[in-house]
């Protein structure tokens, strides 16, 4: 159990920066997720913490010891690799025992046996201890690599997209298992992923990275409900948030959002008024999550008439692809039946859930 801090960390490969000026503070026992699309610098960051990659500038410390490059053997962190990185010529037992035999631990063989057996029981791999990695399925390999980290009781766990190579079903199931395990584990975990569901589900806090730069750090709710900018907003949620460009209208002393062609108009919450007026914004972007769009069958005052050209039924949800004037929208409902062919529908927008962004993509906040 130890905190991890990154101060002004920069990593360059040649001249290209993979991570720039990164500052992070991971508290002891925190489950910290580093999230971002491919090329965001997530894995580089993780490898620098592990001492596997040299820090170009800045400083990383675990607890009160500074991480030095190339000293990975000394720093007592355990890492779970995306590709599992099991030793192919060792059995499962030998794989899990390997870290315990190093010169920094050197446990006696009875202790090693008992630790490996304990962990393998809790991960339900005790039946495979004598097998070789090549004889295991993807899910089993994943558990073994988890086990190899758990036997050590390290100060920090580093996990590099550990679930990304599992098929969808197993991935969702393992995610929940990891969450259960996490509740028992009193150790800090730094978990890298590009799957927003993993980030939201597992994290105490999430750091969103983009091209090596930190975009936002916050709890899952903060990130989802109050994203700093368009980038963060569009990374969370599937299908992704609808971004609609439009204008701020002032009618009868109330502010309205209107698309440029006037096809959709809805009120802007009063709380945003001050900020909008202060910055004198005219053109703004509304971010409407597909779940905030209600499909209604008949006309009502708040309803907007749309042309829905396609709907998809994915079992528990129905997706509607719509067009209103020049704007395209995607909506999700939990029920509503499927259209056989394109038809006209009415929608209403849950206006209190709409996010607003300025021309630079920053979210407009209250006050």
């Amino acid at each position: 159990m130890a905190s991890v801090s990154l101060i002004n960390v920069t990593k360059k490969y040649g001249r290209i920066p993979a991570v720039s000026q990164l500052n992070l503070e991971v508290k002891a026992t925190e489950f910290f997720v580093i999230f971002g699309p491919a090329g965001a610098g997530k894995t580089s960051t993780l490898k620098m913490i592990a001492g596997l990659e040299e820090v170009t500038e800045g400083e990383i410390s675990i607890g009160d010891t500074r991480v030095r490059a190339r000293a990975s053997d000394e720093i007592d962190v355990a890492m779970i690799f995306e590709t599992y990185a099991l030793y192919p010529h060792f059995t499962v037992f030998e794989n899990m025992a390997f870290p315990l035999k190093s010169k920094y631990r050197k446990l006696d063989s009875a202790e090693i046996r008992s630790r490996v057996e304990d962990v393998s029981r809790s991960l339900e791999i005790e039946g495979f201890l004598q097998r070789y990695p090549a004889e295991l399925s993807g899910g089993q390999k994943q558990r073994v690599s988890l086990g190899r980290a758990l036997v050590r009781k390290p100060r920090v766990f580093l996990m590099d997209e550990p679930l990304s190579h599992l098929d969808a079903k197993l991935r969702h199931q393992m995610r929940r298992e990891l969450k259960k395990l996490r509740n028992k584990l009193q150790t800090s975990v730094i978990f890298v992923t590009h799957d927003y569901m993993e980030a939201l589900s597992l994290a105490d806090r999430i750091a969103v990275l983009d091209k090596g730069r930190l975009r936002q750090v916050g709890t899952p709710d903060e990130i989802y409900l109050a994203p700093e900018d368009v980038f963060v907003a569009s990374l969370f949620g599937q299908p992704r948030i609808n971004l609609v460009e439009g204008l701020v209208l002032n009618q009868n002393d109330r502010l309205f959002f209107s698309t440029t062609d006037g096809a959709i108009v809805f009120p802007i919450p009063a709380g945003l008024r001050e900020c909008l007026e202060r910055s004198n914004l005219e053109k703004i972007t509304a971010g409407i999550r597909p779940t905030s769009i209600q499909i209604i069958r008949e006309q009502s005052p708040a309803a907007v008439r749309v042309w829905s050209f396609l709907s998809e039924d994915t079992g528990s949800k129905h997706l509607y692809y719509m067009r209103i004037g020049e704007t395209s929208l995607t909506g999700i409902t939990e029920s509503g039946g499927i259209m056989e062919k394109p038809e006209k529908l009415f929608i209403s927008v849950e206006t209190e859930k709409v996010l607003y962004f300025d021309h630079a993509g920053k979210r407009i906040r209250e006050g």
Binding site: R68, A69, R70, A71
Partner: protein
């Protein structure tokens, strides 16, 4: 402490290469020495060595026999390259068919390749002897394949081709087997004719392999020595006197080491330039084959 520690960590790679590096320097020393000797009048047996600058080079450059030898070497290399790549590609395409018993054929084809070239050359010397089986099979009477001025070099080419075509075949076959299957399935579904597919797909994809074999074959052909020493020793006359053979006789028969070494420096340069060119082709064709 941290400083020392960090130093020893940085030094790890050098610990691994160090023994090899020593050995390399040991080997490198003669290389440098050979460059130096080529600038001297060094003769085996004579004690005094005098530095004479580029005189050796001037002498060989004005010698007709050197140019002839260089020309023979170049011609021999070009001819062997064309023959072996052509035959080797044909062989590879043949062996790439998944018919019954193909595995046996693929194993047998490597036999000539495993043989010492000297021994292979000796075998052919027997076969090509005036009373040998080749004359019997071709119906020629007492024809001396290796002893006739005009036939000697082509005969050597036959031997060379026999020894090294399997090399080309084996590499190109590996190349063919490594090509992705799906584009071919797609092409068949798309209705491309076999020749259209070979031209637009197989050939560009195989090019990197062709260039890599050409690279190795060029280097070795330019250095040909063993099979000539075992058969014609440069003769008859000087009709098969390739550069390395000439340098061998120059040094170990006539003892003029300086002059022999200057020839070798020229050959070395030729090899270096040729390999650079071929590596360039190889790199470009690899990029193309990967679609970059």
């Amino acid at each position: 402490m941290p400083i020392k520690n960090s130093f020893s960590r940085r030094a790890v790679p050098y610990f691994f290469v160090l023994p090899a590096l020593f050995l390399t320097i040991g080997i490198l020393y003669p290389f440098i020495l050979s460059l130096y000797y080529s600038l001297t009048d060094y003769r085996l047996g004579s004690a005094a060595i005098e530095f004479i600058g580029f005189k050796n080079y001037l002498v060989i450059f004005s010698s007709a026999s050197f140019w002839r030898s260089l020309g023979l070497t170049a011609g021999y290399t070009a001819a062997s390259l064309v023959l072996q790549i052509g035959l080797g590609l044909a062989g590879a395409l043949l062996l790439n068919n998944d018919v019954k018993g193909i595995q046996v054929a693929r194993s047998l084809i490597i036999l000539p390749l495993m043989m010492p070239p000297v021994v292979a050359a000796l075998m052919w010397k027997v076969i090509m002897a005036p009373n040998g089986v080749l004359n019997y099979l071709t119906g020629l009477v007492q024809f001396s394949w290796l002893g006739t001025n005009t036939a000697a070099l082509p005969s050597l080419l036959i031997i060379d081709t026999w020894i090294y075509t399997p090399f080309v075949t084996v590499i190109l076959l590996a190349g063919l087997r490594s090509l992705p299957q799906e584009p071919y399935e797609a092409a068949v579904l798309d209705g491309g004719s076999p020749w259209f597919i070979f031209r637009t797909l197989t050939l560009p994809l195989l090019k990197p392999f062709i260039f890599i074999t050409a690279l190795f074959r060029t280097i070795d052909s330019l250095k040909t020595f063993d099979i000539i020493y075992a058969t014609t020793k440069g003769g008859p006359g000087s009709s098969t006197m390739l550069l390395q053979v000439k340098a061998y006789f120059e040094s170990f028969r006539h003892y003029s080491m300086g002059s022999a070494l200057s020839m070798m420096m020229v050959l070395w340069l030729v090899i270096f330039v040729m390999s650079r060119v071929l590596v360039g082709f190889w790199a470009r064709s690899s990029r193309q084959a990967l679609g970059r």
